[in-house]
Every structure is written in structure tokens, then in C-alpha cells.
């Protein structure tokens, strides 16, 4: 079986005037279907660039990138858009929900761009199902401003899931969340991964990375470490532990 993601001497260079920034330099990497990878590194090490590239938001400057056997370098803008629509689910650090649309409408968004299109009724059904998966079944008609950060991120995850992609990409999905909410979100990812979804996320928090199966560390656009996570955290267990600790604090105070 071929890898879901295969990078070969992949480089991405930004040009701003005279300056050239080698955001990602000659990276070779394989990620199999069903993996759960955390990409880590200092600020400016090229994590976001890597994610945007894996998300087919643009093509490599040099080197090659196959997603699910398709050579990304050979696709045009529209083909990339269709690929993102069908195979990739994006989760952004700032959630990036449409503020004036309800949760359900936000989740329906990727289905608007499906080719061939599906009926409105199907869209609603699938959106409701996705909302149920992230545990927000009764909040469909809420606007983002009426939801907590964790709930907004769940809506964003549901939106990423709704077109049944092969790959979930999340750039610092817990960056704006408190510890417990972060754990809950990681729990959602673990659940999805358990049911077969490939998840790749960027984080700079070590303990968040421990919920993943594999940690890739970047520095100056290169991969400097690529290891399997040994003492993996389980979100359900960790939340239980946290609750007990909180109770203990309340009892003693």
C-alpha cells in the first residue's frame, strides 16, 4: 500500500522582494493512512508552511508531493481546490468560522463547493451528523459568538469532517483554548483517529503532542527529529485525572 502523504526533497521558498525565505527545505517524509502526527518546533521553524503545503493550498517550490497517489505539482488551481474540498479537512487556530452564520450553516459550507453538488436536504443531514460526532448535536442554530471557544473549535472540526476527507489538518487547534478544553478537543481527535481518520496537527505544546502517535520536530525548515510517542496520553483518562485533581483542590481549600 502506498503512503497517504509522500514528500520527496520538498522545499517551499517565499520571495519578498530581494529576500528569499526558505520556509521548508528539502523535506522528505511519509505519512501512512491512519496515523496521528504532531508537527512541533519553534516559532518560524516552518510548521505552518508545512501544513499549508500538506493542505494543498499551494504547490511546492521544488521537490515533489504525492497525496493519496496524486502528484500535487501537476495540478492547477481548480484541481487543487477540488482536492482540498474532497480529501482534506482544515481546522484553523482561530477557528475561522463565519461569524454571522449559524453552526450548521458553517458546517454546510464545504458541501456548497462539492462537485457534483448534493441536495440541500442531504447537506442538512450530513451537517447534523457531523455536529453529532463532535458532540454539539443541539447547538446547530447557535452563532459562533454564542458558543464557547471549545464549542467553536468543535464546529470547526465538524466543518472539516463533513465532506468525509481522508486527512484532517489542524494548525495549533488548541492554541486559543484552556487546558481542559484542549484535552477535550484532543479527545475528539483521538476518537476520530481511532475510527480510521489520519490526523496531522501543529502544536508547540509538548503535552498536547503526547496525545498523538508520532512527533515530528522542525527547525529552520528542516525535520530534525521524527519519533513515535511512547507514553501516549489518552484524553479520557487525562480529563478524569484533571477532574480528580480539581476536586482535591476544592476539598483542601
Amino acid at each position: 500500500m502506498s503512503a497517504l502523504i509522500k514528500l520527496e526533497n520538498f522545499s517551499k521558498t517565499y520571495r519578498t522582494g530581494e529576500m528569499e525565505v526558505h520556509a521548508v527545505q528539502s523535506v522528505s517524509l511519509e505519512i501512512q493512512s491512519g496515523e496521528f502526527v504532531a508537527i512541533m518546533g519553534a516559532s518560524g521553524s516552518g510548521k505552518s508552511t508545512m501544513m499549508n503545503s500538506l493542505g494543498c493550498l499551494d504547490r511546492p517550490t521544488s521537490g515533489r508531493f504525492w497525496l493519496d497517489g496524486v502528484d500535487i505539482g501537476s495540478l492547477n488551481r481548480d484541481q487543487l481546490a477540488d482536492l482540498r474540498n474532497k480529501k482534506i479537512g482544515f481546522i484553523f487556530q482561530g477557528f475561522n468560522l463565519l461569524a454571522r452564520s449559524t453552526a450548521l450553516e458553517n458546517i454546510e459550507l464545504p458541501m456548497l463547493y462539492l462537485r457534483p453538488s448534493i441536495s440541500t436536504q442531504q447537506q442538512v443531514e450530513r451537517a447534523e451528523k457531523a455536529l453529532a460526532i463532535v458532540g454539539l448535536g443541539n447547538r446547530g442554530d447557535h452563532r459562533p459568538s454564542q458558543l464557547s471557544g471549545g464549542q467553536q473549535q468543535r464546529v470547526a472540526i465538524a466543518r472539516a469532517l463533513v465532506n468525509q476527507p481522508k486527512l484532517l489538518l489542524a494548525d495549533e487547534p488548541t492554541g486559543n483554548l484552556d487546558t481542559q478544553t484542549s484535552m477535550e478537543i484532543m479527545g475528539v481527535f483521538q476518537e476520530l483517529n481511532r475510527s480510521g481518520m489520519t490526523v496531522i496537527m501543529v502544536t508547540h505544546e509538548l503535552d498536547i503532542a503526547r496525545y498523538c502517535k508520532r512527533n515530528v520536530i522542525m527547525r529552520d525548515g528542516r525535520i530534525v527529529s521524527d519519533t513515535e510517542v511512547l507514553n501516549r496520553h489518552d484524553a479520557v483518562e487525562e480529563i478524569k485525572k484533571l477532574r480528580l485533581e480539581q476536586q482535591a483542590v476544592q476539598l483542601t481549600s
Partner: protein
């Protein structure tokens, strides 16, 4: 992406900023409204002038004193009195193919009947005057050639004048006093309505020109003579005979210009139609400029909207929107703006036209074609001015757009 969904999305996006949407639409509303109102006014004026010219009568040739071609003017009546009583008599004697002729003199006079008193315009003409103008009588009878020759004090009353002086009572057989001279009312004319300038054509009294010159205008010359040809075929011959006769009578030597102007009804109609057309086009284009300004307003707001929603565009692209989907989204927003604005503008334009007709007593004619055209134009303006902002949105780089804040 399905068009219906996109339209719904566009409407929702526009509803978010109601005030801005309304202000943007206002440009188009005013533009379309103005175009429709202006064209309606122009068309109304044309229709009225045309019907007025038709009411000059069939195959009528107008001989006016003075030369209008020199000044470039083709319509109107001369004041330089070059047409004499003898000219008129000669026309009757010498031009063949004429079924009727009448000079015209005009003046204003105080008219009284019983205790009623009005100031109205007096037209002096021959017994053919009403006939040539195809002016029918609702009661009584026209005066005859004997009345004209003897300068008898007989009068035909216009509808308005008759109503003012006698109310519902019978006018025929009554005596009215024009400048204190007693005139017998012999007939009442049918209604003609108001002319292009809003003047009531029925507020009038027609008397023999001989009486008019003697008692009211006092002059010895005519401002014009209307000549009616027997039929269409003889009309050109009559026209050229009139020309020859008057040049000869006025002793105008070869190469000198006429001191009179002859116009057939057709020529007058053509000129009037042409000039009202120019007026309509002029009014329409001035209004069109405001439509253009409205379009620029749409472009401006759409550019602002694209910038404001850069992140949204980035998200949409990241989740699979193609450039054309984004293009369509913003284009449809612009078109919804302009089409709704255009629709409201049509309503205002039509209402405005009727308001003008009512309050200014101007004729307006709302034509379906001007409504359809300005509505389509507003849609076109939406597409034209919405395209640049929409394309700008569609060409955004998704990564840049997502980083934007």
C-alpha cells in the same frame, strides 16, 4: 455551486450591513428612477406635440410671415408682418388645389357675459379656420364667408370659455362682450385639451379675422396663413405655387431670400419629433450619468467588502471553493445590489413620472421599453462594476488570505 444557494448567500451577506446596502442601492435607485422619469417626460412631450401637430389638420400648409430658416428656427410664428390681406385674397384666387384657407391673428381681450368676466385669447380666422384644424362643433354652427366679409360680430367659444361664461347653460344664441363690443355666440367648439406647455387650448374664442383686426388686434398683417390642400398628392404643388405667388407678390428678385416661410404639416411634425427626440436623449443621458455614478458606488462598496472579508475568502478557498465560485459569489452580490436597486428605481421612476404629470400638468409617457431597458442596464451595471472586485477576490492567494487580518 448552485446559483440559488449563491443568491441566498448574497442576500444574507447584504442583509448583514443593511444601512450600507441601502446607501449603495440608493445610487442605482436614483439613477434608474431618473432615467425612467426623464425619458417619460421626453416621450410625453413628444407624444403631445405630435398629437398637436396632427390636430393642425390634414394636408395643411402653413405660411408664416418672416424667414425662419435664416435663424435656423423652423417652428413658431413670425411677428414681422409680411403677410397681407391682399396676399390672402390672392392665394384664394390663384392657387389651384386648395380646399380652404385661413389667416390667423391673435390677441387677448376681456370678455364678459352677464356678470361673468374673463380674459381669454381671441383667434381671428376665416370660415375655414375650424374646418382646417379639424375642430368640430358641439353645438351651433360655424360662421360663414358673409360674416367674414362683413366683419360681423359672431363668435365660436372654446369649451372652457363657454363653461366659464355660461356654466351648464346654453351658450349658443347668447351675447358676449369682447372689449365691450357685443358678439353673438353662434357655436361652441369641441374639447382639445391642453398643449405641450400645459396651456388650455379650449380657453379660446374664434371670431372672423376681419372683426378681430378691426376691434382687437388692430394690425393690418397676419402672423400666418393656413392653407389646406385638397389631398396629399396636390400638397407639394400647392406648396410650390404658394412660394412662387408670394415671391412674385412681394417682389423678391432672383437669389434673394423669402420674407415668409412655408412649412407643410409633415415638415413641422418631422422637426418637432426630431427636436423632442434630442431632448429625450439629452435628459436620458444626464440621468444615465447618475446611473453610472451608482455603478461606481457599487464597485467601491464591493471592493471594501472584498477587503473586509479576505479571511472569509481564504477559508472558503481552503475548504475547496474554486476561483470561479468566489467570483460568482461576489458578482451575484453586486448584481443583487443593482437589480434590487434597479427594481426599486423603476417603481420610483414610474411614480415620479406620474407625480410630475399630476403636479406640473406635464404630459409624461412611461414606456415599457424604457423601464425594461433601464432595469436591464442596472443589472448590466452590477455585472460590469462588480466584476473587477469579484475577480480581485477570486485571484486572492488562499494562504495570504488566511494570514490577513
Amino acid at each position: 455551486m448552485i446559483i440559488i444557494t449563491t443568491i441566498r448567500m448574497a442576500i444574507r451577506a447584504l442583509q448583514r450591513n443593511t444601512l450600507r446596502t441601502l446607501l449603495t442601492m440608493l445610487g442605482i435607485i436614483i439613477g434608474v428612477g431618473a432615467v425612467i422619469a426623464m425619458i417619460s417626460i421626453g416621450n410625453g412631450a413628444r407624444a403631445q406635440i405630435e398629437s398637436q401637430i396632427a390636430s393642425l389638420g390634414q394636408n395643411v400648409i402653413l405660411v408664416m410671415s418672416g424667414n425662419f430658416t435664416r435663424g435656423g428656427m423652423g417652428m413658431g410664428f413670425g411677428s414681422a408682418g409680411t403677410l397681407t390681406k391682399e396676399d390672402f385674397d390672392a392665394i384664394g384666387r390663384e392657387v389651384i388645389g386648395v380646399s380652404g384657407a385661413s389667416p390667423e391673428v391673435r390677441g387677448n381681450a376681456q370678455v364678459a357675459a352677464g356678470n361673468q368676466n374673463v380674459n381669454t385669447s381671441i383667434i381671428g380666422g376665416s370660415e375655414d379656420y375650424a374646418v382646417i384644424r379639424s375642430w368640430t362643433l358641439t353645438s351651433g354652427a360655424n360662421f360663414n364667408d358673409q360674416d367674414v366679409r362683413s366683419a360681423n360680430k359672431v363668435a365660436l367659444l372654446g369649451q372652457t370659455t363657454a363653461a366659464t361664461l355660461f356654466g351648464d347653460g346654453e351658450a349658443v344664441g347668447q351675447i358676449i362682450r369682447i372689449k365691450n363690443a357685443p358678439f353673438a355666440v353662434v357655436g361652441v367648439l369641441g374639447a382639445k385639451g391642453s398643449d405641450a406647455r400645459g396651456n388650455d387650448q379650449d380657453d379660446i374664442i374664434i371670431i372672423p379675422w376681419t372683426s378681430a383686426m378691426k376691434r382687437i388686434t388692430g394690425g393690418t398683417t397676419f402672423r400666418s396663413i393656413s392653407v389646406q390642400a385638397m389631398d396629399v398628392a396636390s400638397s407639394p404643388q400647392v406648396q410650390s405655387d404658394l412660394n412662387d405667388l408670394l415671391r412674385q407678390r412681394h417682389r423678391i428678385s432672383e437669389g434673394k431670400e423669402d420674407d415668409f416661410t412655408i412649412r407643410s404639416q409633415q415638415e413641422i411634425a418631422d422637426f418637432a419629433t426630431a427636436s423632442t427626440k434630442v431632448m429625450t436623449v439629452l435628459l436620458g443621458s444626464i440621468a444615465g450619468v447618475s446611473l453610472l455614478v451608482g455603478g461606481i458606488g457599487i464597485m467601491n462598496i464591493m471592493l471594501v467588502s472584498v477587503t473586509e472579508r479576505t479571511r472569509e475568502i481564504g477559508v472558503r478557498m481552503a475548504i475547496g471553493a474554486r476561483g470561479q465560485d468566489i467570483l460568482l459569489q461576489f458578482l451575484i452580490e453586486a448584481v443583487v445590489l443593482s437589480v434590487v436597486g434597479g427594481g426599486v428605481g423603476v417603481v420610483f421612476g414610474v411614480a415620479g413620472s406620474y407625480a410630475v404629470a399630476k403636479t406640473q400638468n406635464w404630459a409624461t409617457l412611461v414606456s415599457t421599453s424604457s423601464v425594461v431597458l433601464s432595469f436591464l442596464t442596472s443589472a448590466g451595471i452590477g455585472i460590469f462594476f462588480g466584476f473587477y472586485p469579484a475577480r480581485k477576490a477570486a485571484q486572492l492567494d488562499p494562504i495570504e488570505a488566511l494570514r490577513f487580518d
